[in-house]
Symmetry: D2
Subunit: 146 residues, 4 copies
Amino acid sequence: MRLSLQPSLDPTAYRFVHQVRTRFAETDAMGIIHHGNYPAYLEEARAAMLRDAGFPYEDVRAGDDGIDFAVLELYVRHRQPLRFDDLVAVHVVVDDLTRTTFQVGYLLTVDGQARATAVTVHGAVDGRGRPSRMPAFLAGLVGPGD
Amino acid sequence: MRLSLQPSLDPTAYRFVHQVRTRFAETDAMGIIHHGNYPAYLEEARAAMLRDAGFPYEDVRAGDDGIDFAVLELYVRHRQPLRFDDLVAVHVVVDDLTRTTFQVGYLLTVDGQARATAVTVHGAVDGRGRPSRMPAFLAGLVGPGD
Amino acid sequence: MRLSLQPSLDPTAYRFVHQVRTRFAETDAMGIIHHGNYPAYLEEARAAMLRDAGFPYEDVRAGDDGIDFAVLELYVRHRQPLRFDDLVAVHVVVDDLTRTTFQVGYLLTVDGQARATAVTVHGAVDGRGRPSRMPAFLAGLVGPGD
Amino acid sequence: MRLSLQPSLDPTAYRFVHQVRTRFAETDAMGIIHHGNYPAYLEEARAAMLRDAGFPYEDVRAGDDGIDFAVLELYVRHRQPLRFDDLVAVHVVVDDLTRTTFQVGYLLTVDGQARATAVTVHGAVDGRGRPSRMPAFLAGLVGPGD
């Protein structure tokens, strides 16, 4: 298990926040958002952070290096359920960057109340899925920023 | 983090195995099964294990207790990608049963080769989402069995 | 087949437009957005239109009438594929309101270019899934508006 | 609208039947299977029919022609809802084959009772998404067979 990042409950520990409106299609028969949708929320927030930082994921994928950030590990802790039509603030921070992997921490809140925390561990892979060198720009995204 | 179970790479450490055929709808633009689909595979295998043990999930949900097994934590480690049309053997074992939670370990293999391991931590909740007593039958499902 | 609405390619024929950013999780191994995600886009746009019109879907569901708008029929015509990170304008119009059903037409565009058109046919059902009277407010939402 | 096939309510009008067990992840807050999951059920049944006929979809995609069957149109009529843990028989038939398109009809039943009918219209495209010649083997799959 490479996963080591401890996601904070303090929003100021994060660099970026992305809003996601939950969909009715994402509810389940318990009347809450099914846990299987959280990976897509996390990924949408990662992509928004990269776009905001000037590195749209599509450019990263299509560039000379043709790099994808494969998900190696995923951890989600559910604190309170999300419900349909919730406007979820997904706080994102990159940390624990090594030569081959980096980790992303997440805090999901609704109206300032923590609903879930999560961590993903990523490796860089080329177009054939083989491990690749980590793009240099990632070093500039580590931590909560200024 | 309640998650403590270490999922084994040895299929004999599991009680039950459930086959899932991956869907084209579950692939992504990297040409592999998107990681967001794994929670649904795990859940399908849990439901199949309960059905096989004589406790169909729908009966548990509709019974006097009206119990749901809420997902409190989820961890997935991706070892090798799954691809479209793979027939995935999802091995399942219940462990670490306490008065309020239990954990489920998973090993996903294709043709005997490990593709992923995973753990989910569950609590019993009643129809209104409040913590509930763990159903007695779970004690009989702990470990790999005979 | 109740479906009768012919969705226009002219954006001015629609009452409301809702923006959806496609997710990487929604791509498939052809490198495009998988067609199975379109129903969720349409539903999100319907919910946004109701919210904008002052009738949040959650209020409609939780109100005295406890009404859901069941999907009776769905039709989608794919003209050009959507790709990851596309910002999709989903144009929405209600039409063909009867005592028991209404239809919703959709035009999906990216940068003003038509990508898909769609129609859904809905009936009002109560909390037990039985046909219910159509809420009066729907009559005010028919057509493209002023 | 190319869609012309009228899906029959008679199971003998279909060539092939594929069983799908609904997932809890596919339910919604109405307590039924969300309509957005039906396209994936239809696609899984199409793939199973091709596999059964000796033309696994992965072979078709990876072959010299590198052909994909793009979905041009989709129509679903919901007659009765599906629920969690339903074992759904998805009946499939190919029809209305032209030089550039073919249509597939579907009947979804649970315990012999019709739940939905559907039609998809497909075109053959090459690896770059351009229209391609229809593979010859499709002509042998038209209609309910012997």
